[in-house]
Symmetry: C2
Subunit: 340 residues, 2 copies
DNA sequence: CTGATAAGCCGAACCGGTTAAGTAACGACG
DNA sequence: CGTCGTTACTTAACCGGTTCGGCTTATCAG
């Protein structure tokens, strides 16, 4: 059962290949009668353009690339990415674009993938996540001339087009919240410092803590539940003990919650917890977790739209998607001896 | 800056295109001296084969397809898929294959995607997940002649190649465990009944409960945290109240844990909980959750290997990957009045 | 009635690889 | 010395689309 080609349609319609191509692509050059006949035959034979052939002549792959430089294990623990990918997909699907997803071990492998994709003409553009401070991917993508939209703060994007959420504003809101509850000693369980977003939060956290005259510490982790739990134990061993902890993701916050409970401390009576990356996790714990919520699916969709626009000739620019919203839940309360 | 092609290399080396192709593909037909020269020039010019061109002549895309028929929201909540995709990727990467991932709304859209991929010659084969009872995708894939490996029990695969984990054995182990602790009234918070894997577990649960003379009920959900919590509330409202609950995924188990705690019942003193799909979630709660653990990343890798073998000409067959292992943790204990 | 214009279609080149068929040079062998 | 076989290439067709130049024919203005 050979594949149905444009040539076969041309034979059946008694016209040339070229005419069929014009007809199928809704371009002038054929009569309406012929066009209708061609479309009918094509539909009957269930013709669809061979992707490789089209790519070869059009020099356009209709594919975007996304590289995730995390271990498969980490990815499976972080609900974030799957939602992001889902958002990307939702936009690509309606443009009949597709997504080339690659999971690699580290940043070097990610760079190698970009080089390969560029040389192979594998993708039309890429979406870059997990932006770093002085990110080495930026100069590489520039050199390769690979169109890209970065996911992260303009301060990290070095002039490349990017989409960002205002993490600094969100962090400020979180600290205003705990300070207004009366907390004076707080801690933060953060992600890896090399991640640009974590760096942004680091800055905002320090600035807000100073402004509010809070005693504040930061503990960096690898975002995993294990290190989130460990960091929480460290935090609670310090004197004076913090009465509020801000986490950089939901997984660590839930892990922290369990640690606090295992130590027979009560939430929120003894300790207030604030999570980042709101997800069902934050709503199913007991008590539920106050969290900085943002729409990850929509974020992925927005980034994809920007990349499409960029390829369509739009000016490269940075675009603020949103500011995470602080959702106050049961894990927030004044500290034990507030007003004391 | 035009792309470097084989023609350009041929020109520089003073040989024909064909000779360059032979040299680059390590095929006989060129002298060692020429081959070395060609390889050197190709390396200098950083040549990489244009993917579309190779696909067109080789009639092989070096791409596998994976369709996920879930909402982006659901996907972001289920850690399962990202781990699976990571496992698939780990195998594909070393073969320089790539993955076409598509997220769609429902089964019909999934079928449409397969039809499209087959017509476009978009992928060499597909990995099919979330196998259903009397799955409509099986006849479609057969008709299309699209090579596929199904992820699920041979009883559901209708003779197509599949990779499975022995869910029935795992369920039996879970019930043996709770029965041996002395529980007599148990409940199960299950996934959607149309999923084949859930159906398999339904059967095994009923059989084991009858054999062990347990009073057992099953509550079907959509796998979400919300419905997991709701089902748990229902379960706990029944008289006589079950003393052990088995969940079909980790997310619902964690949600259930919170519900139980919110009702001021103690785990494991009052209620024993068993989760499926062990993940960090099960280890970070307080108390930690007994769970049926299996290696999702390895599962994805195994499935991918099977698909590669299938395309290499191996006989289609079903292959048992593993039986989920029951990891007993803090959420397991005898019922309140055991030995009574 | 003639010449210009355009619509409709054909043939062929092209994208960048792979590969079958053909050819020239050379050594071995009867 | 002629023949066969091998090696090392070249040529050209091919994959399945897109696209350009040019050829027919019909249309219409002059």
């Amino acid at each position: 059962m050979p594949h149905v080609t444009i040539k076969e349609i041309a034979r059946r319609c008694g016209v040339s290949q070229g005419a069929v191509s014009y007809a199928l692509n809704n371009r002038p050059g054929v009569s309406e009668a012929t066009r209708a006949r061609v479309l009918k035959v094509a539909a009957e034979m269930q013709w669809a353009p061979n992707r490789a052939a089209r790519q070869l002549s059009a020099a356009c792959t209709e594919t975007f690339g996304l590289v995730l430089a995390r271990s498969a294990q980490t990815l499976s623990e972080e609900p974030y990415f799957m939602g992001f990918v889902g958002g990307v997909e939702s936009v690509l699907a309606e443009k009949s674009y597709s997504l080339a997803l690659q999971v690699v071990a580290d940043l070097d492998a990610e760079l190698a993938t970009y080089r390969k994709w560029a040389a192979e003409r594998r993708v039309d553009g890429v979406i870059v996540v997990d932006l770093r401070v002085a990110d080495p991917r930026i100069p590489v993508l520039r050199t390769l001339g690979l169109p890209a939209v970065l996911v992260g703060d303009p301060a990290l994007a070095d002039g490349m087009p990017c989409v960002w959420t205002d993490a600094a504003a969100a962090m400020t809101a979180a600290l205003d919240h705990v300070a207004s509850l009366g907390h004076r000693v707080i801690a933060r369980v953060a992600g890896p410092p090399e991640f640009g977003d974590v760096w942004i939060r680091d800055q905002a956290y320090d600035v807000a803590a100073r402004r509010l005259a809070l005693t504040a510490s930061t503990h960096h982790t690898d975002y995993s539940a294990t290190q989130g739990a460990d960091a929480t134990r460290e935090v609670l061993a310090v004197t004076p003990r913090p009465t509020a902890i801000v986490y950089d993701n939901d997984l660590m916050a839930v892990a922290g919650l369990a640690v606090v409970q295992a130590l027979d401390l009560r939430i929120p009576d003894d300790i207030t917890l604030v999570a980042w990356d709101d997800s069902p996790l934050c709503r199913i714990t007991h008590p539920t977790l106050t969290a900085l919520s943002h729409n990850v699916v929509g974020y992925g969709a927005e980034v994809t739209h920007r990349l499409l626009n960029l390829l369509a000739g739009a000016q490269p620019q940075s675009h603020l998607y949103s500011t995470p919203l602080l959702l106050i839940r049961e894990s927030s309360a004044p500290p034990p001896r507030a007003n004391g």
